[in-house]
């Protein structure tokens, strides 16, 4: 199995390469110039040109790319054009908030969505099913920042029970950490709940029509055992897949939620870097996202084996 994982990781190198080429060409082809951003609005063309030269932005694109690639191969992702901090360090600072947000959101979503989906499938086409469906589509239809604002204002500010914004690192205490993450996770999780409950319902419906469910009923087993022991495990793989696919969605949503709730995460780092043309950070972060995507897919594949003994590596 270790061998398989290693092979998998090696086979991802092309993906990372493709991502780096995509991002580099994107940055190369589009307007915007960090030198101008550094110099400020009032700088003359001469000033900007001097700074461009100092930053090496006047070198040919291909040369810049290979320089960067060479460094990356040595695990050096460069430094921020603006504050000179290493990209690795900047990303590391942002890992905990984003990963905490994603983990808690995923947990929240699964805990809510899976039972909802199971219920909807169990009582397919009933009123309960319709309500679950409508609620889940509705939560999908409201832009995440609107949900975030409304929750922050009415739940946090008006009641004073939870902080309105910000993030507390785990070292400041689990309670603090959780208190700061509840609302962001819920706002972000609602879309995810919709997605997971829908796939749970669909997957459960599929499984509930399987022969072995009929067998279970023929044995006289009762509803809860059939649903949660016999059906859910069989329905797990599509759910796991969607949870995994949703991670990409979460990363995107995190950009927005991190802004609304002022969480110093990777999403905000990325948006800031994009708006400011901090090329090394953009490239580093995009590679990170590609890595996350790959690792999440690997985890999904491993989870498949947990839920389904037929799958082995």
């Amino acid at each position: 199995m270790v061998q398989s994982i290693a092979n998998r990781l090696i086979s991802t190198v092309p993906i990372l390469f493709v991502v780096s080429v995509l991002i580099f060409s994107l940055l190369y082809l589009t307007p915007g110039d960090p030198a101008q951003m550094i110099a400020g609005a009032q700088a003359t063309q001469d000033d900007v040109e001097r700074i461009r030269e100092a930053l090496g932005l006047n070198d040919p694109a291909l040369m810049r790319y290979f320089d960067w690639l060479w460094d990356v191969l040595h695990f050096d992702f460069g430094r921020s054009v603006f504050n000179g901090r290493s990209v690795t360090e900047l990303i590391m600072q942002r890992m905990e908030p984003t990963f905490s947000l994603m983990a808690l959101t995923t947990l929240f979503a699964i805990v809510i969505a899976v039972p909802l989906g199971v219920l909807a499938a169990w009582r397919a086409n009933s009123v309960v099913d319709r309500i679950v469906l409508v609620l889940s589509i509705a939560s999908f239809s409201i832009p995440v920042f609107v949900t975030g604002y409304v929750l922050a204002y009415y739940v946090a500010f008006k009641t004073g029970l939870l902080p309105v914004q910000g993030y507390a690192f785990l070292k400041e205490g689990v309670g603090e950490w959780l208190a700061h993450l509840v609302l962001p996770s819920v706002s972000l999780g609602l879309i995810y709940v919709a997605l997971i409950s829908r796939i749970t319902r669909a997957s459960m419906l599929e499984v509930l029509s399987e022969d072995y469910i009929r067998t279970a009923r023929a044995k006289g087993l009762l509803g809860r055992r059939i649903l949660f022991v016999h059906a859910l495990r069989n329905a797990a793989n599509p759910i796991v897949t969607v949870v995994g696919v949703g991670v990409a969605l979460l990363l995107g949503g995190a950009v927005v939620i991190e802004s609304v709730f002022n969480i110093p995460g990777i999403g905000r780092l990325t948006v800031d870097a994009i708006l400011r043309r901090d090329y090394p950070i953009i490239q580093g972060v995009m590679l990170l996202f590609a890595m996350i995507y790959i690792v999440v897919n690997l985890i999904i594949d491993l989870l498949y084996t947990v839920f389904d003994p037929r799958i082995r590596y």
């Binding site: 915007g32 504050n83 604002y149 400011r276």
Partner: protein, 526 residues
Amino acid sequence: MRDLKAVLNLAAAACIAASVGVASTLPAHAATKSVTAVLEAEIVTLDPHGTSAYITRTFGYMVFDTLFAMDSNGAIQPEMVDSWEQVDDLTWTFTLRDGLTFHDGTPVTATDVAASLKRWWSLSTMGRLLKAAAKDVVAKDDKTFEIQLAEPFPLMLTSLGHPNSPAPFIMPARLTETPVGQPLPEIIGSGPFVFDASRHFPGDSMTLTRFEDYKPRDEPADFLAGGKVVNIDELKIEVIPDSMTATTALSAGEIDYIQYAPFDLLPILEQDPNVTVMGFQGLNMFQGYYPLNWRNPPFDDPAIRRVLWNFVDQSSVPIALGLSEEYMVPGCQSYFMCGTPYETTAGSQFPDEISVEAGRKALAETDYDGEEIVVFQGTDIEALRVSSAVLYEWMRQVGFNVRIEAMDWATLLSRRKNENEWHAYGVHALGLDLGNPLSHFWIARNCVDFPGWFCDEGITAGLDAFKEAPDDDGRKAAAAQISEAAFESVPAVMWGQFAQPAAYRSDISNIIPSAIPLFWNLEVDR
């Protein structure tokens, strides 16, 4: 596979444990006295010589120190300098105060000063004036340095004390070897606050601590001048990109200070007993501008540029921004702003009735032939967005064939370099800069290679007169001369004078009224 299951079980157990351990402990301030501030933007560039960005200047005044500084009357007062002497027309000598120390413990020497000035003057507007007049800056001994001039320079103290960004901040000589544009390897100043890289989380927060070895001047604090006595232990500067969130956080007491309170929320904040709103006057106000591109037809025709005077009134944009009258100066017609030393309406081309109708008439009298006008709109700052949108709307109604292109500020700065791509954009600047022709972003950029490429001999003559004027009366006369030329040739059209009020928790007192947020002198009662 069994191992993986075990790990998962463990993870699940941990999650449960975590959620059980939730206590609703809400943030409690530590024993250290600390203030949390949200400034206009993130402090991105930490090199105080490296950018004209206001936010870096704000950072500079906290961590670095200047030789001279401006007081609340606009007068230049000594700060790091103890005494100085104009030896002759071409020689000035300065002596530093005793006890000035950098944050790394080394004393501030004349060598550091000389090196800092030479690094600073290349990118700064004021610095360039000094650079043009100067032969050299020489350290005479540890505390004394001499500026040797090639021609007389009456603005010596202004250039060394004016807050026009970047201001002449002093740093250790070894740091000055870093070329401007590259990040400084470390941030060492001699100002009242110490920067600690390990407590800097770019994009999120930065914590500055009081510099225990700082020796404040004896005079009371007066704007940027006077004794900078720090009464708090820590200043935490947070980045909250969403102003709505920041405002709510201020009301909830999670932060203490917002540099720019959102205009529309001012009424709410004013009613909040826990929050104080601080408005500004004079040089601490802003003025908005539409810089015009003289190289792109039809704006190569001054007559068509002058049409704008007929419909750009000086209150619509601030009102559209959500400001009430108390935070603006309606109808100010001065290039150098109103309520400032060089206020003048000389040569004003504003008609009595400023309206779309007047604009339409004025346009009809020009040779305008329906050429397309492109308005650039910066989207990431509200004033940029609103002012450009209003301009677009006005021009559309007046009868220009106008198109608006929205982009983030970075793109705008980059694209405005192409002279064929644009005609105008909306922007604003602080009175500290605009109040003086020499640091005025559009007047002082006359005839240099700057996007807009405005070049008017009349303005050049006026600027020369201003530089050479021996006294303030002479300078005021020169300012009026510039004003007349500018109204005629129109490098830029102003769209209104307004304040960007700050808001802070009411348990903070003695805050220095300044559009550059200053965190010395203030006291916290907790």
